[in-house]
C-alpha cells in the first residue's frame, strides 16, 4: 500500500509522516512539490512544517505547487488526502476544506501534549478509532486557530464533519474547539495536531496517533 508524503520547501514533519506510514505497515513514498507526479500512491499526506516560511499566509504559496494541481484533481475523485498542521493550512488555502487557520489567540507558538476527542470515525484516516475516543497528541503551531463563517460552522456540525475536537482546554481560540475537519465526501481530512508524532511512547506522549496511519491502510485494502 503506497502512501505519499509531499515535501514542500520548508516542510518539516515529512520524515515523521514517512516513518508513521512505515510503522503502520505501509510503503512510504516521498513526493516533491515541484513535480505533478503522484507516483501511483493510493493516498497522500501533506505534512507539517513552515512551507515557504509561512510567508504571506501559511500554506498560501504551497497551494499553487505543481503537486497540488494533481492532488486537487484526485481529491475531487475521492482520493484520500490527510493534511497535518501546515498541511491542513494548505488544504484550506486550496479550498479542498472550508474555513481558515489564523494566529493563535494568545499570539504564542505552543507545543504541548493535547487531549482530543475523535468525533468522526467514518473517514479512511480515522476509521480505526471509536467514536468519542479520547487521545493525546502533540500540537505545535503558532497559527492553529480554526475560523469559519457561521454558516460553514453549522454545516460542519450538522453534517458531523468535525473529525477532532480539543478536549479539556482550547489551546488557540479555534471556533467550536475544532481541531480537525473533513470535506463533504469524507476523503479529505485536515487536522492541526500531529498524529505522526504520537506513534512511539519513546518519542511521543502516546501511541494514539498511529491509528491514523493504520486506518488508511485498512481502508485501502480491496480498493
Amino acid at each position: 500500500m503506497r502512501i505519499g508524503v509531499v515535501t514542500f520547501p520548508g516542510s518539516l514533519d515529512d520524515s515523521s509522516a514517512l516513518r508513521a506510514i512505515r510503522l503502520a505497515g505501509g510503503e512510504a513514498v516521498p513526493l516533491f512539490h515541484a513535480s505533478d507526479d503522484l507516483k501511483e500512491v493510493q493516498a497522500v499526506v501533506l505534512p507539517g512544517g513552515f512551507s515557504y516560511g509561512d510567508y504571506l499566509r501559511c500554506g498560501a504559496i504551497s497551494r499553487f505547487a505543481p503537486i497540488m494541481s494533481s492532488i486537487i484533481v484526485a481529491a475531487e475523485h475521492g482520493f484520500p488526502v490527510l493534511g497535518i498542521c501546515n498541511g491542513f493550512q494548505i488544504l484550506t488555502e486550496s479550498h479542498l476544506l472550508p474555513g481558515a487557520l489564523i494566529r493563535n489567540q494568545d499570539l504564542h507558538f505552543i507545543c504541548k501534549d493535547q487531549p482530543l476527542t475523535v468525533e468522526n470515525v467514518n473517514t479512511p484516516w480515522t476509521s480505526g478509532y471509536t467514536k468519542g475516543e479520547r487521545i493525546v497528541v502533540p500540537i505545535k503551531n503558532g497559527e492553529g486557530s480554526f475560523q469559519a463563517s457561521a454558516q460553514t460552522l453549522s454545516e460542519l456540525e450538522d453534517e458531523g464533519r468535525v473529525v477532532l475536537r480539543y478536549a479539556d482546554v482550547n489551546p488557540n481560540g479555534s471556533q467550536n474547539n475544532i481541531a480537525g475537519i473533513t470535506n463533504a465526501r469524507g476523503n479529505v481530512v485536515g487536522v492541526m495536531p500531529h498524529p505522526e508524532q504520537a506513534i512511539e511512547s519513546l518519542t511521543g506522549p502516546s501511541e494514539d496517533g498511529l491509528t491514523f496511519f493504520t486506518s488508511i491502510l485498512h481502508s485501502l485494502v480491496g480498493r
Partner: protein, 81 residues
C-alpha cells in the same frame, strides 16, 4: 514608474488577536485614543509607467487569488501618486 498599493485586512467578523494585543498595549504606554485596533497588511507593487485599467484588473485578480485569503480577508487596491 508607479506604485500600486494593495491593503489586506481581516474581515470584521474574524477574530484579530494581533490587533487586540496592540489595543491592549497602547494604554500601557499612556495612549488612550484608541477605541479599537485592527492589524492588516500593505503590499507595495512597483510597475513600469502609469498603471492601465487592464493592469489594475490583473492586480485585483492577484489580490483575490494570492495576496488575500477571501475566506477571512478583504482587500483594497489603490494607486499611489
Amino acid at each position: 514608474m508607479a506604485t500600486i498599493i494593495v491593503e489586506v485586512m481581516l474581515k470584521p467578523e474574524i477574530l484579530d488577536p494581533q490587533g487586540q494585543a496592540v489595543a491592549a498595549a497602547l494604554p500601557r504606554l499612556g495612549f488612550n485614543f484608541a477605541q479599537s485596533v485592527r492589524q492588516g497588511k500593505r503590499f507595495e507593487i512597483v510597475v513600469a509607467g502609469e498603471p492601465t485599467h487592464a493592469q489594475l484588473a490583473e492586480v485585483e485578480q492577484a489580490a483575490e487569488k494570492l495576496l488575500s485569503n477571501p475566506v477571512i480577508e478583504t482587500y483594497v487596491v489603490k494607486v499611489e501618486k
